[in-house]
């Protein structure tokens, strides 16, 4: 118990340091990349403005102050739980993100379910029939999945399932049917890595002494695979999952935009284009927090699956 509390404490400290570091790097990058929100705010594309107007607004919003000072101001706000408001839409950043977060999370989970449905059987096939045709099938599935760009796959799925067969809606959110195409697109994009990983692990496990012993005891193959080997192979998968949460949230963006899925995708892409600093910073803060937090959860699951692992010696992240 004491160990557990210590672990949580140290992880929380890590979390704070990590998120601070992340937010500062983002802030720095945002400020040194060319472009600022001033022209968007002044709407120069259809309202007459002069360079003087731009400079005045720059001063009013203190974008001309030193970067550290601007960052310090932002951190002070965050400490008071104030993420500021969007420069463009003037809505509070926290509201904007929290509005969109649930949809992104639910799509991520949908993608994970599809991933699971694809990766587990394919991984098992590859391992059990190593070097025979099901293994090649699994390998090709992984290779194809890894090579298809997700936006293209999404478009193809829409074309086939919505346009040709009229089975599923093209875009949007609302019913279970709306869930299918974006989840499949996401799941297929992420599955290959897991198929290969599970296969490698299973092969290694199937050759380990305790499985050999089980075989010698005359246990049936099915039983060996499903109740012994698979459990041992899930551990690295869980680890992998913890590590790939970041890329999952990145991959979800493209798919959200394609399917008009009302998650954070559109929000963050347009914020980056318009250099809407407070929104970008708020997004990084919350996503960073989520990634670190989910890694913590993964560690817990790790301990549950395999209690022998001592957290001190074999940390996951």
């Amino acid at each position: 118990m004491k160990k557990l509390l210590l672990m949580i404490g140290s992880r929380m400290l890590q979390l704070v340091i990590m998120v601070l570091f992340l937010s500062f790097i983002t802030f720095l990058l945002m400020k040194i990349t060319p472009g600022d929100p001033i022209r968007t705010m002044l709407n120069v594309d259809d309202i007459a403005a002069t360079k003087t107007d731009e400079e005045n607004l720059m001063k009013a919003y203190e974008f001309d102050r030193p970067i550290l000072e601007q960052y310090g101001k932002w951190v002070l706000g965050v400490l008071q739980l104030d993420l500021g408001e969007s420069l463009i839409s003037k809505r509070p950043v926290l509201d904007m993100i929290l509005d969109k977060l649930p949809a992104t999370l639910s799509l991520s989970i949908g993608g994970l379910v599809v991933l699971f449905i694809i990766a587990v059987p394919m991984g098992i096939l590859g391992a059990v029939y190593e070097g025979r045709w099901p293994d090649y099938l699994s390998r090709w599935t992984a290779l194809t999945g890894a090579s298809i760009p997700s936006f293209w796959l999404g478009l193809m799925l829409i074309y086939v399932f919505s346009l040709q067969w009229n089975l599923l809606p093209v875009m949007g959110k609302g019913t279970l049917a709306h869930f299918i195409l974006p989840s499949v697109t996401l799941g297929v994009a992420m599955a290959p890595m897991y198929i290969r990983l599970l296969r490698e692990r299973l092969i290694a496990t199937l050759q380990s002494p305790y499985i050999e012993a089980a075989k010698a005891r005359g246990l049936r193959k099915k039983r060996i695979i499903f109740s012994h080997a698979l459990r041992g192979s899930l551990i690295p998968l869980v680890t992998m999952f913890g590590l790939s949460i970041g890329s999952l949230l990145g991959g979800v963006t493209v798919i959200e935009i394609l399917f008009s899925w009302p998650g954070m995708g559109e929000l963050i892409v347009s914020a980056v284009m318009q250099r809407d600093y407070p929104v970008i910073q708020g997004y990084i803060l919350i996503i960073g927090f989520l990634v670190v937090l989910s890694n913590l959860v993964v560690d817990f699951m790790y301990m549950m699956i395999n209690p022998q692992i001592n957290n001190g010696e074999e940390s996951v992240s």
């Binding site: 309202i47 007459a48 360079k51 969109k100 949809a103 346009l163 008009s260």
Partner: protein, 511 residues
């Protein structure tokens, strides 16, 4: 064994989360219109984060809010919420409001309400104070008097801007449920996802034909085209020319294509010595093959440009667009002192003519135009290096020494008056003048224009400016891209406008 149960349990929870996560809105679908109701769905490209009419164009586009004056089909200014107006002196404008106009909550639209609306607009939108230049306002019954900070004849056309629309300023939650005067009122809005509208039965200009309208957003043009074909959208905005074939051949769908108020052009950097010679600019202009750009690059969905302004405008040039003529271009370059060296490159005083042409991916047709121009120039012995940059504006302003030419695109008369473009693209302090264009004669005309209230004289001045601009060739105006909209045949009495300010009307209907 226990672990298997745990994992199964976790999976079950995940599934439950998904199912609850995606049925949270299914419940609200029930208040859908009855079968007798007419409804339609519009799919738009730029997702609105807010529908506050003072912040976002959707307020007016969606038929929720209205401005005092609007552009008619011929792009001329006509009354809308204002019955009439009068310019008392150089800085005083008196507007008389229509009688009987009411906000969606039933409260009357009088001078006080309009004043409060403008006060709020200027407060929440940084762009409006410099655009409207309002010093003070006085309300008196159905009249409102504006005093501008300076002599400002363009004030009237600036009032066309969607952000100058009239809303109930003291309402709550304006970002999601603005209360205004339009034919439609907001039922619900979820940011970047959907606006649900229902008709406002007491609309002053006659009840709308359609009961319910849903505006959805998708920034992927291919998906917008697919959603139209699958029947999920009745109107899909901003379709790419290459996606039109299946729509055009579909008997239940049609394509509307209308010249926009935007122009694609090459901008020449006037700080570069080679480009300061007007003969060189004329020669480069002759290398721009406008018909090919219209037909090949835009698939015919564009209008060749004869100057900055859409040819439908009275103040646009009446001449034909410059023809493609490489041999004439070569002659002009010879006159400017360029001769072919032994490598076949044009050079002057031992220095070959080499130009950097900047472009960006934001509008996919621009890099194509750049490449096309590059090969035309190469045929003549001019080396053009194309560079693609991510953020074109900051590159142009912050690296002014690095580029010679840039592919650019601007709205030139968004409110039916060219004064906007003449001010921002030609005056030395203009926000769209990174090429540091400075033509004294054009500057003088623009300054006169900024003081000229008489509409006829304004047109004359703008024509004069256009003529001078086309003589100087500080830009090569190439084409006006079209706004391409896919429409289901069940939609009647509707076509897209050039100005893109008005989208939903009380007249549009569905079968």
């Amino acid at each position: 064994m226990k672990n298997k149960k745990t994992i199964a349990g976790l999976l079950l929870i995940l599934l439950l989360i998904i199912i609850t996560g995606c049925t949270d809105e299914a419940g609200t679908e029930k208040n859908q219109s009855t079968s007798k109701d007419k409804s339609l769905t519009i799919l738009f490209s730029f997702a609105s984060k807010t529908i506050d009419p003072h912040q976002d164009w959707m307020g007016v586009r969606a038929g929720i809010a209205e401005t005092l004056v609007k552009l008619d089909d011929d792009l001329a200014i006509k009354p809308w919420l204002a019955e009439s107006w009068e310019q008392k002196d150089e800085t005083t404008w008196v507007f008389t409001l229509k009688e009987g106009v009411r906000f969606h909550d039933g409260s009357p639209v009088d001078g006080e309400a309009v004043k409060a609306s403008f006060e709020r607009a200027i407060e929440v939108n940084e762009a409006l104070a410099p655009a409207l230049k309002i010093d003070k306002m006085e309300a008196d019954g159905q009249q409102i008097t504006f005093k501008t900070t300076e002599e400002y004849p363009a004030f009237l056309s600036e009032l066309v801007h969607t952000n100058a629309s009239i809303i109930k300023a003291d309402a709550d939650n304006i970002g999601e449920k603005p209360i205004a005067t339009g034919a439609f009122q907001v039922e619900s809005f979820s940011s970047e996802e959907e606006i649900k509208l229902k008709k406002y039965p007491k609309y002053w200009d006659g009840e709308a034909n359609v009961d319910h309208i849903s505006i959805k957003f998708n920034s992927d043009a291919n998906v917008r085209a697919l959603a139209l074909q699958s029947g999920e959208a009745d109107i899909s905005y901003h379709l790419p020319p290459e996606s039109l074939e299946p729509i055009e051949s579909h008997n239940e769908l049609r394509v509307e294509s209308v010249a926009s108020l935007r122009v694609h052009f090459f901008l020449y950097n006037s700080a570069k010595p080679e480009l300061q010679d007007v003969k060189v600019r004329q020669a480069l202009d002759l290398l721009v093959n406008r018909p090919v750009a219209v037909e090949e690059i835009m698939n015919g969905h564009a209008t060749a440009a004869n100057g900055p302004f859409n040819p439908d405008f009275e103040f646009a040039s009446e001449k034909d667009p410059t023809s493609y003529d490489p041999s004439k271009a070569e002659k002009l370059l010879n006159e400017a002192g360029y001769e072919k060296n032994e490598d076949g490159n044009l050079e002057k005083d031992g220095k070959p003519l080499e130009l950097t042409l900047a472009t960006y991916e934001g509008r996919p047709e621009l890099p194509m135009m750049a490449q096309y121009f590059q090969s035309e120039a190469a045929n003549l012995g001019i080396k053009v290096n194309v560079v693609t940059v991510e953020n074109i504006d900051s590159y142009l302003w912050e690296q002014q020494q690095e580029w010679d030419i840039v592919t650019y695109s601007n709205l030139t008369a968004p409110r039916g008056d060219g004064g906007y473009f003449l001010n921002v693209a030609y005056l030395p302090d203009g926000s769209l003048n990174p090429g540091q264009i400075n033509i004294p004669e054009v500057n003088n005309i623009t300054k006169q224009l900024n003081k000229e209230a008489d509409q006829e004289k304004r047109i004359e001045l703008q024509k004069k400016a256009v003529e001078k601009i086309q003589e100087e060739i500080s830009q090569s105006f190439i084409l006006h891209p079209h706004i391409i909209v896919g429409v289901n045949q069940r939609v009647k009495n509707w076509k897209p406008g050039s100005e893109e300010y008005y989208l939903i009307t009380n007249e549009m209907d569905v079968e």
